[in-house]
Amino acid sequence: MGQLINVVMDLGLLAMLVISALMIIRNHSPLTVAILSGIYSLVICTLFVIMDAVDVAFTEAAVGASISTVLIMAVVKPGDEPVLKASWPSAASVFLGIATGLLLVYGTFDMPWYGDPSAPIHHHLAPRFLGQSGTEIGIPNVVTSVLSSYRGYDTLGEVVVIFTAGTAVLILLAGDLPVEDKSRVVVQLASNSIIKTILIRIIPLVILFALYVQFHGDYGPGGGFQAGVIFGAGLITHGLLSGSGKMLEVINEKWVTIGMASGVLIYGFVGVAALLLGGEFLNYSVLAESSTTGQHVGILIIEIGVGVTVAFTMISLFASFNRGRP
């Protein structure tokens, strides 16, 4: 019966996914596209839930519901509206797309069927991770074990990429001076007492939840990446309500930049500490007397590093895109 539920949800959500992507193709207004991509993200998040990828769904939920929409909205201007409201793409691009698609579909005939336990992917690394991470690492969430211990190098690379992207945005938008003319007084959303009264009180809950996700990531879905995005979303709420200038009064822009870098440094420091204590780079087992305790300590610290970098990068992105706005 559980199988039937899975199949029904899978079919329904796949159909919705394709339909929402079609809607994005048809509409040309950037604002409409941003709204529709919000729905697209919700559908694909639910699909990840159906396919047992709770950690991935968690990340998609955190990112899709908040940051991606906020960033697109910060760039769109009213003058971007197209003349044409909705239309199908040109025949040439459709032809090219269909040709590519047919080739790819031909490729899928060699793929294992959906859910097939005898597929090659399930016989190489996964049995080791699933069978031994419980005794080697000692935390229940295998995704966190693999993310921060077995594939710690990879994750360090990802964190550096995020840091680099944040820095690139800072550089690209650094020359932006206030272009909005000063005579226009923008009434902030916080002047509406209904909105302000409730949402200001939600912010601490969001930050509390971010901390819960950060430290509960070893035992359930969650971890540094998700916690960072959620923490960022909490402060971005303040920025949306009262303007990004008010947000930067809470955390100075200089400290945001320092925070972005310090997360990467925390991560790298753990690796170097392991090196100094006689292990390999990012081998946490040497950090404490017993190897599982060492793994626990190492994972806790590097997850904090990941969370700090992601959180401050998100805040920095929001601040950069809204610089010069009232």
């Binding site: 596209v33 990840f48 396919m51 047992d52 991935v56 992207a165 945005v169 020359g175 992105l317 895109f321």
Partner: protein, 124 residues
């Protein structure tokens, strides 16, 4: 019967989304829509990876007592980080769009091709 129903369908949907992303990137003249198209492109790959990791009757890869059939955690790890990296790179793309708007006064490709660059003095 019910356990073979989706078969290769998930892959085909991933391919469809891939094609849709491609069409948007080729066809769209609006740079913001192009970036959303790139995101769809990206999520097609996410869908493909997660589909491969699923095991029928599996559980989320979080160890618990009495559960011994887990989906494959490795694709989850790859995609989890890719999502956050994806939003960061999208932000870089949006920042470029913002600079292009500064330089040309528009984000529509057709109009950009017609215009000379307008503001050398605003470039830092």
């Amino acid at each position: 019967m019910s356990e073979t129903l989706p078969g290769l369908l998930n892959y085909w949907v991933a391919v469809t989304l891939f094609v849709f992303g491609l069409i948007i990137v080729i066809d769209s003249r609006n740079m913001i829509k192009k970036l959303v198209g790139l995101n769809i492109f990206q999520s097609a790959v996410f869908l493909l990876f997660i589909t491969m990791g699923k095991v029928t009757d599996g559980n989320a890869p979080i160890l618990a007592e009495g559960v011994n059939n887990f989906s494959n955690p490795l694709p989850h790890v790859l995609i989890l980080t890719a999502i956050v990296v994806g939003v960061a790179t999208t932000a870089v793309g949006l920042a470029l769009v913002s600079r292009i708007r500064k330089a040309y006064g528009t984000i529509h490709e057709d109009e950009i091709y017609d215009k000379p660059e307008i503001e050398p003095e605003l470039v830092p």
